[in-house]
């Protein structure tokens, strides 16, 4: 995949979402994005890779390749899985600097705020914080 900046990915997503005026289409699109997410390796679907949420679980792994963060993840809930796919389009394969410069605030503009606002329920917030932490740490260790 050709690499675009997080901001370009956000703009792309926003224009895709602007296209829907019905909430059902928006959620259908999110669910479909989740279905298209590459399968998460079964042997990593363990507690070590899990972000606990009291409503749904998120499994996640990340690895630096050529200074870009490669992301893998999944969830037991379809909409959460779709939101993971959406976040990966923004944060996946980006550099530490780009990740640190991108806050998840863009979700507000897409009408998806309730999914993240201080919400520990889904495990998604934990995943975003982890991505940010990984980026911050990579800058400390030369």
């Amino acid at each position: 995949m050709l690499n675009i900046t997080p901001q370009a990915a956000i703009d792309e997503l926003k224009s895709e979402f602007a296209f829907f005026d019905d909430w059902t289409d928006r959620y259908q699109y999110i669910i479909d994005m989740g279905k298209a997410l590459p399968a998460f390796p079964a042997d990593k679907q363990d507690d070590a890779h899990k972000f606990y949420g009291c409503q749904s679980q998120v499994w996640f792994d990340a690895e630096w390749q050529n200074n870009r963060l490669m992301l893998q993840g999944t969830s037991d809930a379809a909409i959460v899985k779709g939101l993971i796919a959406l976040l990966f389009r923004v944060y996946g394969q980006q550099t530490a600097d780009e990740i640190l410069a991108t806050t998840p605030g863009f979700l507000d503009d897409m009408g998806l705020k309730t999914h993240l606002s201080a919400n520990r329920a889904t495990g998604l917030m934990g995943m975003i914080q982890k991505i940010q932490t990984l980026a911050a740490e990579s800058k400390k260790t030369p």
């Binding site: 909430w23 959620y27 259908q28 409503q55 749904s56 809930a77 379809a78 909409i79 959460v80 329920a121």
Partner: protein
Amino acid sequence: MSDTPNTASTFDVEAIRAQFPALQQRVNGKPLVYLDNAATTQKPLCVIDAVNQFYRVDNANIHRGVHALSARATEQYEAAREQIRQSLNAAAVDEIVFVRGTTEAINLVASSFGSRLKAGDEILISALEHHANIVPWHLLRERMGIVLKVIPVTDMGELDLSALPALITPRTRLLAVNHVSNALGTINPVQAICAQAHAHGVPVLIDGAQGLPHGLVDVQAINCDFYAMSGHKAFGPSGVGALYARRPWLDELPPYQGGGDMIETVRFDCVRYAPPPAKFEAGTPNIEGAIGLKAALAWHAAQNWPAITHHEAQLLAAAAIGLQEIPGLRLIGQAAHKVPVVSFVIAGCHPHDIGTLLDAMGIAVRTGQHCAMPVLEQLGAATGTVRASFAFYNTMDDVQALVRAVHRAHDLLS
């Protein structure tokens, strides 16, 4: 004129709804259908006004001022205690201890009653409990080595009371069960449970968080030793509730927290505690909360309860029938006696996804484990359920909206 009252004609749900400002809004562009009443209820205007009035006019600390405002605040606070006594039908007003809510009431008993226990003493709870009636006992187990025993639940979601005789032993010190299960809606036969426990000299604590909202409480008829309730689940403010305790217990148990208002005299070598209930009420309490709770309970008591009971039963039956038409849907908890709560799972659909889509349609439900993991695991719903919990301000239209919306969510997710 007929002498049998026509409950339908004397119960005007629209007139009740009109008293709830929060119900008059749109959410995500749709009229709000609020079905998360077991988590907390909305508040009628009289409650909002009472809290507002307190801060505008009467605000002062209680039990300590010589001035007019303090006298007014104290009078209203104590009137709230009397209202709680009436709503629970306690024998005496000094059997009502103000607390933050059910959770604190249970922690108070676990702490004060628990301080007299010895390693190996047994506390008997049930598999149907909210975490608020599990974790305080677990803490006591860690601290003092008590033993926690559990009354099992049947697959219908009812307590299996046939197991009770074998579970009560000479070491059983307290039986603590809920009046109504928040996760499933089961109404437990608390009166019979108290009778059985008392026959063995075992006192009983009832977690009544879900009992009062549905008009079920009479602590003298139940004959319990302790009854815990939360104001916010019964149309009152949050952060205030009560522990009912039979007077001899309040005399006998040590205080829960120390501070002002709970003492008679303090010297560095000797503290004399105030008589109950003050003995258990250290520090400045939630005064406006108590005053709001008084308004809520007075309002609640003035309703037409036979009509409400009928209305709630209709909501429950219609919801259960409507939902069961959805392919793959399984109701979790089908007790014979229930408050209007429907908990369900749908094969292949995650509860959180269903809840998210319902929210998009303006319908507020709760999803997840409802702070009752053990029972959901047993009933095969470990990832949680979707729970729609009704209050008597809900309508048959709300039920229809729920059923339609769950159909749509199911279509989207499968």
